[in-house]
């Protein structure tokens, strides 16, 4: 047991606990905040594993952007403050969900541990940990992986446009509105899919 092991175990415990709490908490905002903890601790795990750039990106993007987005969404959808019983599915569904998740996870664990469970990793020994530094990573990223990188930027553009279009407020004379015209009907929710105009 090296120092890395201990450190990793501590951070891993934190991540696990935060993750479990975030999915079981009855308070919505707490769940989001526990997610922050989990993602942050995970970044720490990445650091222990020697992937510094990834850890940084994790913090920047996940903790900084994604969770903030989630919090905004919670705010805009008038999430209940305090304990709310409407946050979880009925008991039977929860039990089933628990069974499914435990089964899946167990199977995955069995698979992984039986194949590579006994390996040990020498992090940052031969090249002094310089492998995961920014420069070699960037060389790889913008060299061998440039094409997927560009595709991903296209994906981001598409996602940006989609999000804009979907969340735009309804405006009668607007072309975009006509293309994606769906009536907001807060007062009278219906069960029938109405035909788009």
């Amino acid at each position: 047991m090296t120092t890395r092991d201990v450190l990793f175990c501590l951070l891993g415990l934190l991540t696990a606990a935060a993750a479990v709490l975030s999915v079981t908490s009855r308070q919505v905002v707490h769940a989001a905040l526990w997610l922050v903890t989990a993602l942050g601790a995970l970044a720490g795990c990445y650091l222990v594993l020697g992937a510094e750039v990834v850890a940084l990106v994790q913090v920047l993007v996940y903790v900084g952007a994604v969770v903030v987005l989630l919090l905004f969404a919670l705010m805009l959808t008038r999430a209940p403050i305090g304990r709310s019983p409407d946050v979880d599915n009925p008991l039977l569904a929860r039990v089933a969900a628990g069974v499914v998740s435990l089964t899946g996870a167990t199977l995955l664990a069995v698979l992984l541990l039986s194949v590579v469970g006994s390996r040990t990793v020498d992090v940052g020994s031969a090249d002094g940990g310089a492998r995961s530094a920014a420069q070699p990573l960037a060389r790889s990223l913008f060299g061998s992986w440039v094409l997927p990188f560009e595709l991903l930027s296209l994906l981001l553009l598409a996602a940006l446009v989609a999000a804009l279009v979907l969340s735009r407020a309804r405006d009668r004379d607007d072309t975009l509105s006509r293309i994606a015209s769906i009536e907001p009907d807060v007062e009278h929710p219906t069960d029938v899919v109405r035909e788009p105009r």
């Binding site: 599915n89 569904a93 089933a96 969900a97 499914v100 998740s101 089964t103 899946g104 199977l107 698979l111």
Partner: protein, 687 residues
């Protein structure tokens, strides 16, 4: 019976005559299809010509078979089948020649009569053709030397009977009567076909000549012969309208009167008796079958005579009377001793053909002017045949002649033929049975006694018919107004529902085509007794003076009883309160219906045919209808359920699948998760 004729040329002549007898009417029938419908002269010429040519051929055949007969005359050549070769051959001997002559005479008479009677028939062409076809079929039955050829003629006769009874197909009563006749005779024909098949299987040959040889008959076991005979008797019971299959004949009177004269008096109903006469050597080996036939014939004889007593329509009286007289014929077959052969039955066949066809055609001639065959007083006040003497004296005289022959008044033909049958019965009863060994003695007594009683009843109903048709009726006011009888030549107040054949020009005399035919038929009616003298009828006749005297006395007693009953009924009517003797007529001039002396329930039971229609409906019609309903329900609910189930199952599957489309995102995600786990497991496991 199978002795060859003397010279080869005679054989050739007789053979050709036999062929012509069968072929010429058939050709006339076929030619009727190409003759134009509009030219009535051409159609009449074809019909009458065909019948005349057949008659000439039959007379040639009769002249040629003086000594013996010829068997095995090839008609169409041998027919090879899987089991062997069937020779469709004809037989020309004395029996077939005599009966063929009779059939041709009656057919000719009917064709000539129809020229006048069917003058306003739109379908005269088909009428004449089907009558020719029927004649050909009957002649095939008469001349057949092969069991299968016999069967062919038998079935075609049934078809023609159906077509002719339903000739006025616009009337639903005619259509129903035709179907009823067809179905009831068909039921009997089941037995007939089975009987022929049994004979075929037992004897190994379909040739009648070979079948009737003593050596062939010895090979057959009693069980086989009895079974075949009983089955053939079933067919005879159907076609000859004996109990219990007699229900079709009274209703068959819906057909035109010439049809009734030809088919239901002279030929088809007697065809069964003829077949029995032809196959008498086979029947002789089966005393049990003969006993059954004797019982059926006796029962039919008496029951039909009683029913004829209560009918109100002249043609129905004649129909029931046919049943009764044909029963005499069959009784003659059943109890004739071996020495006499089929002669008594053939004698009855010939004389019945003569006087019954005369009677039917007279009824037609009388009804021709009044458009109805109702007798006596009609309750609704419509026209009836009563008072025919005033309207057509000549036809009334011929009708009287025919009724006297029916009643068995000597010296008319009916007396002699009845005597032949009763004499044969007496011979069986007194001299030791049909084979001299004592079997069927009781049958002889049965036929003798029932025949004598039936003679009494026959004379009674014949006299009643005469009283209700010929004399002018006195005015008998009805309880309700408007019930006057039609008298003299005044036109009828209202026509009956039967379709008027032409405009009511009642003052025209009977057309010569009809009157000459009637006169021609009156000759054998009177003179047929002379047949007993010469060797015309094959076999012997035994006449007994005791039976003859008894029968005559009973006949005269029947006539007297009917007259007395009429007087009694008239007295009852005039004695009723509320009857204003019109213009003070004396009570003795009031005429009543003789049958009214019988209690009303007996009367109704007799008139309704003893409830046999209801019996048939309960035993056959209802089970068949419910079976048909069951089959329909089975087809709809059981067999059709499978294709329909396809749609239902598809809908159920759709409903089941719809249960998964809940719309709940969580559910879909769960399904995804489980699916992913399963696929991963499969991937790992299968590797």
């Amino acid at each position: 019976m199978t002795a060859l004729a003397s010279t080869a040329s005679d054989v050739g002549d007789i053979a050709w005559a036999a062929r012509f007898v069968v072929v010429l009417p058939a050709l006339a029938a076929l030619a009727g299809a190409v003759v134009p419908r509009a030219s009535r002269t051409a159609i009449s010429a074809l019909g009458v010509g065909g019948a005349l040519a057949a008659l000439l051929a039959a007379l040639t055949e009769l002249a040629g078979t003086g000594g013996g007969g010829v068997g095995g005359v090839a008609l169409l050549g041998p027919a090879p089948t899987g089991a062997g070769t069937i020779e469709l051959s004809l037989r020309a001997d004395r029996l077939s020649a005599v009966v063929a002559v009779m059939v041709c005479v009656v057919a000719l008479a009917v064709q000539v009569y129809s020229v006048a009677y069917q003058c306003d028939d739109r379908r005269y062409r088909s009428f004449a053709s089907v009558v020719s076809l029927f004649t050909a079929a009957m002649l095939i039955v008469v001349q057949a030397d092969d069991l299968l050829l016999l069967l062919i003629g038998w079935e075609v006769m049934g078809l023609c009977s159906y077509l002719l009874i339903g000739h006025d197909s616009e009337r639903s009563a005619a259509r129903h009567a035709a179907v009823k006749a067809f179905l009831v005779t068909r039921t009997g024909d089941i037995g007939f076909v089975l009987g022929i098949v049994t004979l075929l299987a037992a004897a190994g040959t379909s040739s009648i000549s070979r079948l009737l040889r003593p050596e062939t008959l010895e090979q057959l076991s009693t069980a086989q012969v009895t079974a075949a005979s009983l089955l053939l008797i079933a067919g005879v019971v159907g076609k000859s309208a004996q109990l219990p299959l007699q229900t079709w004949l009274p209703d068959a009177m819906e057909g035109p009167t010439p049809v009734s004269a030809l088919i239901h008096a002279a030929t088809m109903v007697a065809a069964g008796g003829y077949v029995m006469a032809r196959l008498l050597p086979v029947l002789a080996e089966a005393p049990a079958a003969r006993a059954v036939l004797a019982v059926i014939a006796s029962a039919s004889m008496l029951a039909a005579a009683l029913a004829a007593l209560a009918q109100s329509d002249l043609k129905r009286v004649l129909a029931w009377s046919t049943i009764s007289q044909v029963a005499y014929l069959l009784a003659g077959i059943a109890v004739a001793p071996h020495s006499l052969g089929a002669a008594p039955a053939v004698m009855q066949l010939l004389s019945h053909a003569a006087f019954k066809s005369l009677l039917f055609l007279c009824a037609g001639a009388l009804a021709y002017r009044v458009h109805t065959t109702a007798m006596g007083r009609v309750p609704s006040g419509g026209p009836s045949l009563a008072g025919s003497w005033a309207r057509s004296p000549m036809v009334s005289v011929l009708l009287t002649l025919g009724l006297a022959a029916l009643a068995g008044i000597p010296p008319l033909s009916g007396f002699w033929s009845k005597e032949a049958v009763l004499g044969a019965a007496e011979a069986t009863a007194l001299d030791g049975g049909v084979d001299g060994a004592g079997s069927l003695v009781w049958a002889g007594w049965l036929v003798l006694l029932v025949g004598l009683v039936t003679g009494f009843v026959t004379a009674a109903y014949a006299t009643r018919a005469w009283l209700l048709v010929v004399p002018s009726p006195a005015d008998v006011p009805a309880e309700r107004s408007g019930g006057d009888l039609v008298t003299d030549d005044s036109p009828p107040a209202a026509l009956l529902p039967s379709p008027p054949r032409r405009d009511p020009l009642l003052h025209l005399p009977v057309p010569p085509a009809m009157s000459w035919t009637l006169l021609a038929l009156a000759v054998p009616t009177v003179l047929a007794g002379l047949l007993l003298i010469g060797p015309v009828v094959p076999g012997e006749i035994h006449l007994s003076s005791v039976t003859g005297a008894l029968a005559t006395t009973l006949a005269l007693a029947g006539v007297a009883a009917a007259g007395a009953a009429e007087h009694l009924a008239g007295q009852r009517l005039s004695g009723r309160p509320g009857v204003a003797g019109a213009a003070g007529r004396p009570a003795s001039a009031v005429r009543g219906d003789p049958v009214l002396v019988l209690p009303p329930r007996v009367r109704a039971w007799c008139a309704g045919g003893f409830g046999f229609d209801a019996l048939h409906r309960a035993l056959v019609v209802r089970p068949t209808a419910s079976l048909a309903r069951t089959v329909t329900v089975g087809d709809h609910d059981v067999v059709d359920a499978y294709p329909r189930a396809g749609a239902v199952v598809a809908r159920w599957l759709g409903a089941a699948l719809r249960l998964t489309q809940t719309g709940r995102t969580t559910g879909y995600l769960g399904a995804l998760a489980v699916g992913a786990v399963v696929v991963a497991l499969a991937g790992v496991g299968l590797r």
